[in-house]
Amino acid sequence: MKNRLRVLRAEREWSQQDLADRLGVSRQSVNAIETGKYDPSLPLAFRIADLFAMPIEAIFLRD
């Protein structure tokens, strides 16, 4: 699933490790989500949305 995670992360000058630490996941997980290799579960998607203070639909784009 396409998403704006990389853009949002870059706007805040966070590295993938920074984002991983804030979400409580591994850096590999962040990379997998950003590149569309893995779609997060609903709880993780909500945590991502809460972190960026945005609705889920503003971060994850429909194909």
Partner: protein, 169 residues
């Protein structure tokens, strides 16, 4: 493939190739006990650089989590116990009275660390909080579940018709 992954793959390949050569030598009766057991024990030394390379690669590639660290430690401990049980049991088997309780104990001793390894995999799935790492572990387990019976059954059928030799567990 990153340099860390290549280094880990190299040590792992060397470890497996050595084991393959030792097993082949034993199956073809090119080497007699206790030589295979001594060579296998010596080969275990390669586990040290292999595990170090794996850990370094996991740390640098962003894969390492607390649950993964515990998994590595537990799996390594059970692997060491398994190797000791196999090497000791293999060396003692011929000198133990057939059908005796000691022979049963020696034969089933490696099962304990094998069950420990399976327990370790289960604990990892329970303890790992990172859903993507859990997803990868489950995928890997499913591939293993598919490949091992395929390879084992294939070898077994060919062995049944005398096309391949028997391989010790």
């Amino acid at each position: 493939m990153s340099a860390g992954a290549r280094r880990a793959a190299l040590w792992g390949a060397l470890f497996i190739i050595n084991f393959g050569l030792i097993a082949t030598g034993r199956i073809l009766d090119l080497i007699e006990p206790p030589v295979p057991w001594i060579l296998m024990a010596a080969n275990m030394v390669l586990v040290i650089p292999y595990v170090r390379a794996i850990r370094a690669w996991q740390e640098t590639s962003g894969r390492m989590t607390p649950a993964m660290r515990r998994y590595n430690q537990r799996f390594l401990a059970f692997s060491a116990i398994y190797m000791v049980a196999m090497i000791v049991g293999g060396n003692l088997a011929d000198s133990i009275e057939p059908g005796s309780a000691l022979l049963w104990l020696t034969a089933t001793a490696p099962l304990v660390p094998v069950l420990g390894m399976i327990w370790t995999m289960g604990r990892f799935l329970v303890e790992e909080e990172d859903e993507y790492q859990r997803h990868r572990a489950v995928n890997a387990a499913l591939w293993g579940l598919a490949l091992v019976p395929c390879l084992g059954s294939s070898w077994g059928f060919l062995e049944m018709f005398g096309l391949l030799p028997h391989v010790w567990a």
